[in-house]
């Protein structure tokens, strides 16, 4: 595929996925913590358009699920009554009244529409996937902003002022880079409290992931700043009496933009994966709040791993996100030119 087409496609996919995450309240048919206790590990609900008598319906409908008496743990459709799928409905509020926010679609009780099945508590996987995307995707984005921000400031300072500041910063960067990054992440996570609320955990993950990895962007930025500092126009501006701050803002910072963007597209997927990994292992955002990591944690049990394929949904959702970010980084890289490594 041609490079511009690839860039446009990747950007479109990313915007769509992030918009879906932001619009989770509208797109998700249920609240992420809402449990259908009678329906643990229900398979994805099938949508029908042809009823038992062979008549075609324009509006898709579903059947309610009931226990299959012949096999324990299996469900079958109760074909006696069809429940039409309604679009643009008012969801229930916290108390079960009919005055909640707008939802894209839903069915009337007792039928339920689980397009991606349910987990062990009978919670809708699609709703959890959409709400979990908020945590997982935005943790990655925020951590990237933080890491690049800190890396940029330290890298610019080291490259611009040089001498002892450069020596100190780059020797500490060596120390940070000598630790395998996941070990470092785990070690920092280890010293923080284990049992925290979901909001605190989210904030903590963003801070830890973002602050632990400053050394790589700092090194890259430093290299560019060092070469930019020696350019003739920078020297000329300095000769005219420009202040350091002016030089950095006007002449040096714009040079680092390309590397920052390329790095961002590479770091975001890595940081998303870091959040997923930590939550997967119970060190990140905990239940009942949904994150892609703690949703995948159910797969640590062999029977879930082997029997319920829809529990893999968050893992499969990561693939298009990663593909798009990598394509984006490649496209940016070829645009910014070979100056960035």
């Amino acid at each position: 595929m041609r490079a511009p087409g690839k860039l446009a496609l990747a950007a479109t996919v990313l915007v769509a996925i992030h918009a879906a995450a932001l619009g989770a309240g509208f797109l998700a048919p249920y609240r992420p913590t809402e449990q259908a206790r009678a329906l643990p590990y229900a398979p994805p609900t099938s949508l029908h358009v042809v009823d038992g008598s062979g008549r075609l319906h324009l509006r898709p409908f579903v059947y309610a699920l009931v226990d299959d008496e012949t096999t324990a743990g299996r469900y079958k459709e109760d074909r006696s009554q069809a429940f039409a799928v309604h679009f643009f409905i008012r969801g229930p509020d916290e108390l079960g009244g009919a005055s909640g926010g707008w939802r894209l679609f839903g069915v009337e009780e007792p039928a339920r529409v689980f397009l991606l099945g349910t987990d062990g508590f009978g919670r809708d996987q699609l709703s959890r996937l959409l709400h979990g995307a908020r945590i997982s995707l935005f943790a990655g984005l925020l951590a990237t902003v933080l890491s690049l921000g800190v890396g940029w400031v330290l890298g610019t300072a080291a490259g611009f002022y040089g001498r002892w500041l450069d020596a100190i910063l780059m020797r500490s960067a060596d120390v940070f880079l000598a630790l395998p990054w996941l070990y470092l992440l785990f070690a920092v996570r280890a010293v923080l409290p284990l049992h925290v609320s979901a909001a605190q955990a989210f904030l903590m993950l963003v801070l830890v992931i973002g602050l632990v990895d400053w050394a790589r962007p700092a090194r890259l930025v430093r290299g560019i700043v060092m070469s930019a500092r020696e350019r003739n126009y920078v020297r000329a501006a300095r000769g005219f009496g420009a202040t350091d701050l002016y030089l950095i803002r006007r002449h040096i910072a714009p040079q680092t933009l390309g590397v920052l963007l390329t790095q961002a597209a590479l770091l975001v997927p890595q940081y998303i994966l870091a959040e997923v990994t930590l939550s997967f292992l119970g060190l990140g955002v905990g239940e009942p709040v949904a994150s892609w990591g703690n949703m995948l944690a159910a797969l640590q049990r062999y029977h879930v791993l082997a029997s319920y394929w829809w529990m893999w949904a968050p893992g499969l959702a990561l693939v298009p996100v990663f593909l798009s970010y990598f394509a984006l980084s490649e496209a940016l890289h070829s645009r910014v030119g070979p100056a960035s490594p």
Binding site: S172, L182, A187, A190, V191
Partner: protein
């Protein structure tokens, strides 16, 4: 050998930095191993105070660092409260297992990546090359956690491979040959997960490095002499690309260790990974510290190994060092 000595000295400096950094980090942590016990009504405040005093947790920070450094010098690496033993003996078998897994995976990955990358860099066969590019891009986009779980699913579903662990029940009673086969059998899936994780980026780098040398005059000369294509690629282009590839070997150790941490946990391979998770959950800080140091030593050892290889492969560096 001035160059190598400088690299080794730098490694030692970094190791010292890591030890100080991680010790300070751990000491800043709120709570300790005994903090959880406070919730237990059967354990009184006085008992806790005695326990803390016995392990020196009530002393000021410099004294604790001195105690820890002394135990480091004795080769004990501090004391694990959860296991009630010095850290070092807990660490050695784990380090050995992690080394077994990561070296197997590295060797396999390179054996696969070199021919794949060279073939990918070679001209012609546009359709096949594009297929390989797509395959590698997709493989790169599958997160390591999913790869490991998918291979575990394969094991659970088919029973061809053991689902996790490193030895079967009754391993101790087996003959030497059977024990070896048992371990190799358990090694296949975790190693495969690691290989699949690092293969795409390795192959891309091999391809990029070889592609650069393909335009060089000596390659054209070799072609002009009518050498078969495989000899041009593997005999002339690949050795010229060795330098960046050996540097990459050193760099890839860090990635591999990080991925191995996760794969070991998912596949319950008894390496450093599961122990680190256990130590974090038990708030056993000296053990965490020991594990972090062990991983740093492994990483630095990998870097130094790459430096030695570089020295052996590139006469320019040998001359520069003198």
């Amino acid at each position: 050998m001035g160059w190598l000595a400088r690299r080794a000295l730098h490694g030692l400096f970094v190791l010292f930095g890591v030890s100080v950094l991680s010790f300070v980090l751990v000491e800043l942590a709120p709570g300790d191993f005994f903090a959880e016990m406070r919730l237990d009504p059967r354990i009184s405040e006085a008992t806790l105070r005695t326990l803390r005093a016995r392990h020196g947790l009530d002393r000021p920070l410099p004294e604790r660092y001195a105690r820890w450094a002394a135990s480091l010098a004795r080769g004990e690496l501090g004391y694990s409260f959860a296991y009630g033993s010095p850290v070092a003996p807990l660490l050695w078998p784990r380090v050995r297992n992690t080394l077994l897994l990561t070296t197997t995976a590295t060797a396999t990955a390179w054996v696969l990546a070199i021919p794949l990358g060279v073939w990918w860099a070679a001209p012609r066969r546009a359709a096949a090359r594009r297929a390989l590019a797509v395959l590698m891009a997709v493989l790169l986009a599958i997160p390591d956690i999913i790869l490991a779980l998918a291979l575990l699913l394969l094991a659970v579903r088919t029973g061809w491979f053991p689902a996790g662990g490193m030895t079967a029940v009754g391993h101790e009673q087996m003959s030497f040959g059977a024990r070896l086969r048992d371990i190799v059998w358990h090694l296949v899936l975790p190693a495969a997960a690691l290989v699949l994780c690092v293969l795409p980026s390795l192959t891309r780098h091999v391809r990029a490095s070889v592609a650069v040398t393909l335009d060089a005059p000596f390659v054209q000369a070799a072609r002009g002499h009518g050498l078969p294509e495989w000899r041009v690629l593997f005999g002339h282009a690949l050795p010229a690309a060795a330098n960046p590839l050996i540097s990459l070997l050193g760099l890839s150790v860090a990635t591999l260790l990080s991925m191995s941490l996760l794969v070991e946990i998912v596949m319950s391979w008894p390496g450093l990974g599961p122990l680190l998770l256990e130590a974090i959950l038990a708030r056993d800080f000296h053990l965490v510290l020991g594990l972090v140091l062990a991983s740093t030593v492994l990483l630095l050892a990998g870097n130094i190994l790459a430096d030695v290889l570089l020295l052996a492969a590139d006469p320019r560096i040998r001359r520069e060092g003198k």
